[in-house]
Amino acid sequence: MSSLALMFVIVALSLIGWITARARAHRFRAATTRRFSSLPQHHGWYVAMCTLLPPVIFLAIWHFTAPALVTEAVLKVPAAASLPPPGFDRAAVLSEARHLAEGSSYGAFHPLSEVLAPAYAAAQSRYDWIATAVALLLAFAGGALAFLRVRPAFSARTQVERVVMGLLLAASLIAILTTIGIVASLLFESARFFRIVPITDFLFGTHWSPQVIDNRDPGASLGAVPLFWGTFFIGAVIAMAVAIPLGLMSAIYLTQYARHTTRRWMKPLLEVLAGVPTVVYGYFAALTVAPAVRDLGVAIGFRWASSESALAAGVVMGVMIIPFVSSMADDSLTAVPNAMRDGSLAMGATPSETIRKVLVPAALPGVVGGVLLAVSRAIGETMIVVMAASGVATLTLNPFASTTTVTKQIVDLLTGEAEFDSAKTLAAFALGLTLFVITLLLNIIALIVVRRYREAYD
């Protein structure tokens, strides 16, 4: 029986359980005038749950253990004696045989796999039948036992609510699981990378050219300093040079000067900038901004201005960040107590003097926190730099020269045709780990800065 059909049968069984248990509960409720702790539907849910959960848990565990059992069975076949010793070759033959048995491939490279394929198919179908039988048995048994407990005195509601509670807890644990998954996968692959390349070479080396890696000394061409510099230069310098003045001044204008109606349609309009997908910005940067920037560079005397310049990517990234900075500044400006502003105005300061000398200093921690978050977002931004920045890592201060970033290199390293375990692909995970740590630190610092500021006026 296919797994889909099996699931269908189990769900149908639990539905039957739900209906019958509910009907039974209805009957005994109608018979007396006593009050019960559980509604009929709670009894229904209880039985449905007991029918559904055991086979589902069993099948989930089975899904992970069955392949090993099947392989075990295949290895007992006489023909399997001529298999190569355990290792890569044996795994290759077995996986080929499995694909043949499943019908997902038609030709085999190893002649032995064709011999083993029928054994595979037989073992697979035998274990499938076992799984189906056990799952159905569990469903029946669970449902029947639960149904027998459906009595007036039985508090089905408590049981159902306990399971719902467990479900809620499990759902919120997924966030932790994801975090662990991210950290573990980055750490694990990075550890493999640092076994090949010394960590000092990676962190402090100034030469990055993963296209040609010398296998005797892979660290010599995997020094990430130019990438860190490029990321910092594009994300934290150029992008912020655009985003901070524009974002801050927009926030000041919209909170302090603009009329209410203007603010009401202008603010969402600016937020559209944050909603435009980054791939659109990237395309725009590469197609429209980059050539213009190159022409500008040539016009002001940089004869070698690149058409994949840091400036083009940085400016467009800055525009993308504007609404981010502006909404953070907006929040912290409106959080400044009105008394401070009124006091300053009452002393005869003009609105702009009030803003510059009272409001902005008071809101500064919030603004700085917002800027730090904006930087963390800018350096993690991928598509703009993938499409508009260059792949050549250079240590340069010239905004018209080509620069590359960490995210751009991650994409370049992982979308090539290299095999997965090379230093080249593992380097992407080391870069990812660095990026993860840096953005995490920036977020934590931003949080601390913002939290301090809150204490000042509460």
């Binding site: 966030a175 991210i182 980054t278 702009s352 993690g380 598509m383 995210t407 993860f436």
Partner: protein
């Protein structure tokens, strides 16, 4: 207290120095205000410039140039029984009967000076095929059919060609016409820009979003409920909160690396499949939904909970019968915004291999697929000039979907959100 100081005279505001100072201060005020206005306008201008560029470049992508091709299929001797032209296998029957060659020779005969068959799009014969399916009598008479032209001619007809192609366009002018490019909406990726369509990518995006929504919405809502309503204040809860807040700030490409390392390399799920893309994006969208959900749940006043509890509802009933329905509009708004972000996301999908050239729309969640933003990225890398307008046209479609989703979110917020 120091009596030695001379009493200060009141400021003489009418003195020339003071007047000048006031003028300066008011001037600074004006300048500051204009600076602010300038910043707002510059940002808005950039947005408008971006949208205008995309629309100007992409509008052409929805249209194709056609040329009236006189064709006589009697000469080609296409022998297909009329009965076979109606069924599902009609495409195969006509392809096998040599229709493509017939169209090419008709073009060679009609436009010998302009390049003959090279003038037509690779998909020109498909237009003829569809015409024959609609009207089988075309096989037995002389007819003129409008077929799409090759991409360089198409580009030239839209005013951006080389001198040679523009000369061809001038020569053909009376026979050229313009029409809606249907294959753009029904086709998948292709090497010939005139045949490339977005349906494959759109379907891939749809599948991906289905998986994302199916996972991120229930998990996000349930964890928001748990954290806001039931979670005891302890170290574990803090840990959950910290990880959710951090996940919301993790760069999207890191989620791609996670998907690559866990789903592809550890669980051996199919590469470049919509289901893996959906899983990866679900992990990314879930924190957004949790944060929005918690805000919405916090907005439900405690009096509702107290009233329900007073009537004897259990904690689960309080939340599922009263709090959750009241918080739903806010949760849905947050979900739609999170989904819109996921729809525009490209980098994590590149990591899990959804960047392959895929010429057929996916039919199952595990089929190799691509997504709309990835398709934009792939087309932007193409060298053929015909892809420029296709890229911009695909961007317009993507922006349209995002705008629609955000519009729905705003509508929901305004229509259903209650201020307590």
């Amino acid at each position: 207290m120091t009596d030695a100081r001379t009493p200060e005279r009141p400021t003489d505001w009418s003195s020339a120095a003071m007047q000048r100072r006031i003028r300066q201060r008011y001037g600074a005020e004006q300048r500051f205000r204009l600076l602010g206005l300038g910043a707002v306008f510059l940002s808005a201008a950039f947005l408008i410039f971006l949208l205008a560029t995309m629309i100007a470049q992409g509008a052409g992508g929805f249209f194709e140039t056609r040329v009236a091709l006189p064709i006589d299929l009697r000469a080609a001797n296409i022998d297909v029984a009329p009965a076979r032209l109606a069924g599902a296998r009609a495409d195969l029957a006509l392809a096998g009967a040599g229709l493509e060659g017939a169209v090419d020779s008709a073009a060679n005969a009609a436009f010998p000076a302009q390049g003959g068959a090279a003038l037509l799009s690779d998909g020109a014969w498909l237009t003829v095929r569809d015409a024959v399916k609609r009207d089988p009598s075309l096989l037995h008479r002389r007819a003129t059919i409008d077929v799409p032209v090759a991409t360089d001619i198409d580009v030239a007809a839209k005013g951006d060609g080389t001198p040679e192609t523009e000369a061809i366009v001038r020569a053909l002018q009376p026979r050229l016409s313009k029409g809606l490019n249907r294959s753009f909406f029904t086709g998948a990726d292709a090497t010939d820009p005139t045949r490339a369509g977005i349906w494959g990518a759109l379907k891939g995006s749809l599948f991906t979003m289905l998986v994302t929504l199916g996972l991120a919405f229930p998990i996000g809502v349930l964890s928001a409920l748990y954290l806001e309503e039931y979670a005891p204040r302890n170290r574990w809860t803090d840990l959950i909160e910290v990880s959710i807040n951090n996940l919301a700030a993790v760069p999207s490409i890191i989620f791609g690396l996670l998907g690559l390392a866990v789903f592809l390399n550890t669980f051996h799920m199919p590469r470049s499949a919509a289901v893996v893309g959906g899983l990866t994006l679900a992990l990314m969208t879930m924190p957004v939904i949790v944060i929005a959900g918690r805000n919405a749940i916090r907005g439900v006043p405690p009096s509702i909970r107290d009233a329900a509890r007073g009537l004897g509802a259990s904690p689960i009933q309080v939340v599922f019968h009263h709090v959750l329905p009241l918080a739903m509009p806010g949760i849905l708004t947050g979900t739609i915004i999170g989904m819109a972000r996921a729809l525009g996301e490209t980098a994590p999908l590149l990591m899990i291999g959804m960047r392959a050239f895929i010429a057929a729309p996916p039919d199952r969640l595990t089929d190799p697929a691509t997504a709309l933003p990835v398709q934009i990225f792939l087309w932007s890398d193409e060298v053929a000039t015909g892809f420029v307008e296709k890229t911009s046209a695909a961007i317009i479609v993507l922006l349209f979907f995002l705008l629609a989703m955000n519009g729905i979110a705003i509508y929901l917020r305004n229509r259903f959100e209650t201020r307590w």
